[in-house]
């Protein structure tokens, strides 16, 4: 319980520090959404300055940070400068769309990756499969998804719908999961206590479930935590390429238009997902590993 409280506090502190850094980051970037309008001969300098004033962009950054944080706590994430609609109304349907592809991709990648990795380690195929998986893990998402799009068009398949982004996203995570599972399990099989258990006649499901998989699980739980945020990050690229109306295209648009309330909200959302999934992974590890849970008494 104490562990849980401390670990949660640490996550909260991470998010706080990150939000300040994000704020400073936008402060350092030159220009804002009104910079381009200055080039428009119809807009006078006074009008633009008045707009800036109204949007609160002329206040000092600690002041703005305070306003922003206070309104976030009230549940108001600000208003998009480009669209003039509350950010929350803008992103809510987008979040749903992103989850529609990210959740199936996560489940698929972990099912296929764990299954494949286990088989590879069980039958010692790793020597042949691992280099391939490593190569696949190195291909940037942009290239892999473009290739997939091109293949789909070439084969005359329908490129609308959710299947293409889901497959693309699954393949961006799958090789990483496969590599980790196969290598962890292969290493676990060589651990002294596993070899000794085997030599004492423990075999089959008992050996695998109670000894090998327990030993391989720890780093995989940490990876599972990280992979949630990584998948949502990758989904931005996949969405932008396949035209899936999730957070990705909105994020790109907002960045180009310097629509900072949207950019900021989406980045904070990503950070929160990362912090939460890591927190969950750490709690699972705490339950799983008696060396963390129980102090040394001897």
């Amino acid at each position: 319980m104490i562990f849980f409280l401390w670990r949660s506090l640490a996550s909260l502190a991470q998010l706080l520090v990150l939000s300040v850094l994000l704020f400073l980051f936008f402060r350092v970037l030159p220009g804002d959404i009104y910079t381009e309008q200055l080039a428009d001969p119809q807009a006078s300098r006074q009008t633009v300055e008045a707009l800036r004033e109204a949007a609160g962009l002329r206040n000092s950054w600690p002041h703005r940070y305070r306003d922003w944080a206070a309104s976030c706590i009230r549940g108001d994430l600000g208003t998009s400068l480009a669209y003039g609609i509350p950010v929350s109304r803008l992103i809510a349907p987008r979040i749903q769309k992103t989850l529609e592809i990210a959740v199936p991709a996560l489940v698929l990648a972990w099912l296929l990756g764990t299954g494949g990795g286990l088989l590879a380690a069980r039958f010692r195929w790793t020597m042949t499969l691992d280099p391939g998986a490593a190569a696949a893990a190195m291909i940037p998402d942009v290239i892999a998804v473009s290739l997939m799009l091109w293949l789909a068009v070439w084969a005359g398949m329908r490129i609308t719908g959710a299947w293409l982004p889901i497959v693309g996203l699954t393949f961006s995570l799958l090789p990483v999961v496969f590599l980790h599972v196969s290598q962890q399990v292969r290493q676990a099989r060589e651990l002294a206590f596993v070899r000794i258990a085997e030599s004492r006649g423990i075999s089959g499901a008992r050996l695998w479930l109670r000894f090998i998989l327990r030993a391989a699980a720890n780093p995989l739980v940490s990876l599972a935590g990280l992979s949630v945020a990584a998948t949502i990050g990758s989904s931005f690229v996949v969405e932008a390429l396949t035209g899936w109306p999730g957070l990705g295209p909105l994020f790109l648009e907002a960045v180009q238009a310097r629509d900072y309330p949207i950019v900021q909200t989406i980045l904070m959302l990503l950070a929160a997902v990362l912090a939460l999934s890591n927190l969950a992974a750490d709690l699972v590890l705490y339950r799983l590993d008696p060396r963390i849970r129980l102090p040394n008494e001897s």
């Binding site: 319980m1 104490i2 060589e190 651990l191 002294a192 206590f193 596993v194 070899r195 000794i196 258990a197 030599s199 004492r200 006649g201 423990i202 008992r206 109670r210 000894f211 327990r214 030993a215 799983l288 590993d289 008696p290 060396r291 849970r293 129980l294 102090p295 040394n296 008494e297 001897s298």
Partner: protein
């Protein structure tokens, strides 16, 4: 037909000399054979070859025939247990019944229910060693293969355990193949003996230095510490009073030995001084301010020192982790050949790794305190001699203080140490060496 027959058995790793000269052994039911020899001569490798536990990279030559089941007692106690299962679960895995598990644990003196529920990392080195023996017995073996089965035990426990091994073998007719650096183990078990050839390496003495007058380096005042058991939901209850109002002083350049039975609180005191454990009340002061707190002031070498080395990195890298000036010229200080600087630590024997671990711990210390927590327990006389020589030289050269936790008074004598008796968390007597 014999129970175990080895014909010209040899083991080699790719690109290296064979680990030992070819060995031929035949053992009948109930027979006993002791493998003697110094650290690094291949005892462990031979026993692993018999138990079928060599890594895949090893090439085995000759032939090996075994009839019946082997009960293997490995040397590295902690690594031989799954950290995720309780001791009870790991034994029941082999016995099949909780009742028999409890009986077997009672046989080696671990009958408190605490041991059934404990995880391996919560046991002391000696307790783990006894659980390993229980696991070997649980299999009804016709051959017991034991690698240094009593290395981490005090003399009383050692005698008790050897008697158990003896009785078990008499009752079940199991043969025994035991490796040890202590020859009285073989005498006690009535073994034939096979001696494996030792390795030899040159010695390089330290430049001696005059003794500096002694100032107090460390003052421990009225230290108390109670261990609690923590549950998933904050509930805590006191379990063991490990330290009960302990005060002790250690002078600069002095050597102190903490002596006492298992569970007396010796290790806890050492760990508190090293800053690895928090204490409930009392104080630990460093009056001369021997450097800032940290690696230059105090170093702790744990019970199985070789466990502290990453087996995949080289000897040189392991030393440089602690001290960037480490180079091949250091190795002769602990009587290892200079060329071994590039070897991976996993390729060395237990005793050789222990020497590297102690050398590494001493490296960053200027004039602070080196603590050895039973670190010499598992070593043969040769290795222990090398390390004692090194420690004496260190004391002279750098005015280092030593704190040893041990149940071997010979070590205390060899270092001309002040012996402090500890029992049940208290200092019971502190005789001065004449």
């Amino acid at each position: 037909m014999p129970l175990l027959e080895l014909r010209d058995l040899s083991v080699r790793y790719a690109g290296r000399q064979p680990v030992f000269a070819p060995v031929s052994i035949a053992l009948e039911n109930g027979e006993r054979l002791g493998i003697a020899g110094e650290s690094g001569c291949g005892k462990t490798t031979l026993l692993k070859a018999v138990a079928g536990l060599l890594p895949a990279a090893a090439t085995v030559g000759g032939s090996r025939t075994i009839r019946g089941r082997i009960g293997y007692i490995p040397q590295q106690a902690l690594a031989s247990f799954s950290p995720f299962l309780t001791v009870g679960e790991q034994i029941t895995e082999l016995t099949g019944s909780a009742r028999r598990t409890a009986d077997l644990l009672a046989l080696v003196g671990l009958d408190s229910p605490r041991f059934l529920q404990a995880y391996p990392h919560q046991l002391s080195g000696g307790e783990r060693q006894r659980v390993l023996m229980v696991q070997a017995f649980a299999l009804h073996p016709s051959l017991i293969v034991a690698d240094e089965p009593t290395a981490n035990l005090d003399p009383d426990r050692e005698a008790a355990l050897l008697e158990l091994l003896d009785r078990h073998s008499l009752e079940t007719g199991a043969a025994i193949l035991v490796a040890s650096h202590r020859e009285h183990v073989f005498r006690k078990l009535g073994c034939r003996m096979l001696r494996m050839t030792p390795d030899d390496s040159p010695a390089a003495p330290f430049a001696p230095r005059d003794n500096v007058p002694r100032q107090p380096l460390l003052e421990v005042r009225r230290l108390t510490k109670t261990f609690h058991r923590r549950d998933w939901l904050t509930r805590t209850r006191p379990v063991v009073r490990a330290l009960d109002d302990v005060s002790i002083e250690i002078g600069a350049g002095e050597c102190v030995v903490l002596y006492g039975p298992s569970g007396a609180g010796k290790s806890t005191l050492a760990r508190c001084i090293a800053g690895r454990e928090r204490w409930d009340s009392g104080s630990i002061d460093w009056p001369t301010g021997a450097g800032a707190p940290g690696p230059r002031r105090v170093q702790l070498v744990q019970q199985e020192p070789s466990e502290s080395l990453n087996p995949r990195i080289s000897v040189g890298d392991a030393l440089q982790e602690a001290c960037s000036e480490a180079d091949r010229e250091w190795l002769p200080k602990v009587r290892l050949p200079r060329e071994w600087i590039g070897r991976r630590t996993g390729e060395l024997s237990e005793g050789q790794r222990a020497r590297i671990a102690i050398l590494r711990a001493a490296a960053p210390l200027q004039n602070g305190l080196l603590i050895l927590d039973e670190s010499l327990a598992g070593l043969d006389p040769t290795n222990r001699g090398h390390i004692l020589f090194f420690l004496r030289a260190l004391q002279q050269e750098r005015n280092l203080s030593l704190l040893l936790v041990t149940h071997d008074l010979e070590v205390a004598a060899a270092l001309n140490a002040r012996v402090v008796h500890v029992a049940a968390g208290r200092i019971v007597a502190e005789p001065r060496n004449a």
